[in-house]
């Protein structure tokens, strides 16, 4: 089960080189563009998170933006509190406008940086575990998972918009302080911030890679093909599905935190329908079977969007649309599918050669009884 592991590692290494060296080199390691590139990385990360649950375990999460948005809000809450320290009661400005008397209890813990960082991962994981227990124990699969995740995301989005007193409503949470990370004041236009985002992305991918290439990942791939059959081997399918779903949510949460840092605000649109569908498209274009490919899909599509919208004002969405349709029609497994086909071809040729060499060796030796002859 390890043939893929080495190749995955090579792919991961190439991707790391691309993210750490090539991308910053493209903008001369400085400047305004680095901020956009950091944004692309954060979006690539959430695409990779989707690939983990969709491509590996076959759970199409149409509400991936929910955990992404929750991560973003968590980061924004912390930064907003820091920006509001001088205001009456230390309360965010929008609370003052809507006559909230004291800082609500669920805002309180976000004064702490450590709590915020932990919550940005653990709250999305918790949401996913809770949802996973209900869905997967109830053996809900396929399109119903997509509907449930999508509806839950829209419900949370509506709640955030309607509870303006506590959440900033439609406007989201704006006017954030810069993050102070253990004495390092983060400037989102600097190279160091770009590397922070890249580091988080690579760490998330490494976690995913470890999961996918362990036996747990193998069981997940088996579950994707035939969950019934896997149960009869004694695996608790619901638990495995929850594992993939929750890990994916955790990675999306981190991506959301980074996204809020890059854009310096959080908005209910982060958990909207359009971004959620966009995530699916990115993962599909890159290739949902590989997290690295999906991340590249997210980065590539967003980069293309940026470039195309600079060059053509109106027609770029049309062009992107054409590209997506072409990918779905001609490359149903995404760009990764092309790579995988080539790899399988090479591998088949290699094993053929090894088999031939082995046969020759066996001919030379006194030809031991090799095959089913023993059983008879």
């Amino acid at each position: 089960m390890n043939t893929g592991f080495k190749i995955d590692c090579i792919g991961y290494g190439l991707f790391a080189a691309f993210v750490l060296l090539v991308m910053p080199w493209m903008v001369d390691f400085s400047g305004y563009e680095l901020n956009s590139y950091a944004r692309y990385l954060a979006l690539g990360m959430v695409a990779a998170a989707l690939a983990l649950s969709w491509g590996t375990a076959g759970i199409l999460n149409l509400g991936q933006a929910l955990t992404f948005g929750v991560g973003a809000y968590i980061m924004a809450m912390h930064l907003k509190l820091r920006a509001s320290e001088s205001l009456p009661g230390g309360m965010p400005d929008f609370m003052g406008w809507t006559n909230v008397e004291a800082l609500p209890w669920f805002w309180q813990p976000f004064h702490s940086l450590l709590f915020t960082l932990g919550a940005g991962v653990l709250i999305p994981v918790g949401i996913a575990c809770l949802l996973g227990v209900f869905m997967f124990r109830g053996r809900i699969t396929g399109v119903f998972v997509a509907i449930i995740t999508l509806s839950l995301m829209l419900a949370v989005q509506l709640w955030i918009i309607s509870e303006q007193r506590f959440t900033g409503g439609e406007n989201g949470i704006t006017g954030l302080a810069p993050l102070n990370l253990f004495g390092w004041s983060v400037d989102t236009y600097e190279l160091s911030f770009y590397y922070l985002v890249a580091g988080c992305l690579l760490a998330g991918l490494a976690v995913g890679l470890g999961l996918v290439r362990s036996k747990a990942g193998l069981v997940l791939r088996a579950i994707k093909a035939d969950p019934e059959r896997v149960r009869f081997f004694g695996y608790d399918v619901a638990r495995y599905e929850t594992l993939a779903f929750a890990t994916s949510a955790g990675i999306a949460g981190v991506a959301g935190m980074l996204y809020a840092l890059v854009l310096e605000f959080a908005s209910p649109t982060y958990m909207g329908l359009s971004i959620s569908l966009a995530i699916v498209i990115w993962a599909a274009v890159g290739g949902r079977e590989s997290m690295v490919a999906a991340a590249l899909g997210g980065i590539g599509v967003n980069m293309a969007e940026g470039r195309l919208s600079d060059l053509f004002f109106d027609q770029w969405t049309l062009m992107l649309g054409v590209i997506f349709i072409a990918v779905v029609l001609f490359l149903p497994r995404g760009i990764y599918g092309l790579v995988a086909t080539a790899r399988d071809y090479l591998e088949a040729r290699y094993t053929e050669r090894v088999a031939m060499a082995l046969n020759r060796e066996q001919d030379d030796a006194a030809r031991p009884v090799a095959d089913r002859g023993e059983v008879k």
Binding site: M1, K215, R231, F233, G234, D371, E374, V375
Partner: protein
């Protein structure tokens, strides 16, 4: 000691009684053949034992353990393995990956997250040799022949190392030669594993059977050695009424 005991096992689908107060005892290491005309409830019985179907009443004991109300994966952990009628292997996975899924003695997440290799040695090597797939380790299951897929599924059950193996027509779609190889494979496994085999092919049954249980309309019709069962007038009536030849029933 009985490896598996069915105690007045009954299941109703709406008005249809698919299995009707079935009592069955299978000894440790026994190879039991389950026969009966179409619709007699053979496959349903296997479904009941492995947990695919829940019984309406009655009990299923594995050794001394009551497994009647356990979910499928816990029954599998308790020692029930199932081979389905059509080869149900994971077609996208390679032979060795399929076997690794089959090796499920430690199915918990905390263990599987730490396993990264499937070395071809020990039991894995033995099983690969037993079913003759040692040169196909890296082949994707979808590229195997039909007979090889059947063997792969049997091999997965051997990796699972379950106490009781339930097989639903293991020779379905096999060539004559493959069938006789399967027969010798099952004879080899007899003793180490308790097996219940549902089969239509009487030549095959004669090759492997020790004790034969015949079902009709969900109930036990006859039980005994193959000669005794074949001589039983009740069996002849239920089974052979129209053709007069059990081999083609």
């Amino acid at each position: 000691m009985a490896a598996l005991t069915l105690d007045a096992l009954t299941v109703k689908f709406g008005g249809l009684v698919a299995v009707d107060h079935l009592d069955l005892q299978v000894r440790d290491g026994e190879l039991r053949c389950l026969l009966g005309p179409n619709g007699a409830g053979k496959s349903t019985t296997l479904d009941l034992i492995c947990g695919k179907t829940q019984p309406t009443s009655g009990r299923i004991l594995l050794g001394n353990q009551d497994i009647t109300n356990l979910p499928e994966f816990k029954r599998a952990r308790a020692g029930v393995g199932r081979k389905f009628q059509t080869p149900t292997v994971f077609k996208d996975l390679t032979v060795i990956e399929n076997l690794e899924v089959g090796r499920s003695s430690e199915p918990g997440i905390l263990t599987t997250l730490r396993v990264f290799r499937s070395p071809v040695r020990g039991r894995m090597k033995e099983v690969l040799g037993l079913v003759g797939l040692e040169n196909e380790i890296r082949t994707r299951a979808e590229n195997l022949s039909h007979g090889q897929m059947q063997w792969l599924e049997i091999a997965m059950l051997l990796m699972q190392d379950c106490r009781v193996i339930l097989m639903d027509e293991p020779t379905a779609g096999m060539t004559v030669q493959e069938t006789s190889q399967t027969a010798s494979l099952l004879r080899e496994l007899r003793g180490d594993h308790t097996m219940i085999v549902v089969e239509h092919d009487m030549t095959f049954v004669r090759e492997i059977a020790e004790t034969v249980t015949v079902m009709d309309q969900g109930a036990l019709l006859s039980e005994g050695s193959i000669e005794a069962v074949e001589a039983d007038p009740a069996v002849r009536e239920a089974y052979l009424a129209d053709t007069g030849d059990e081999a083609h029933a």
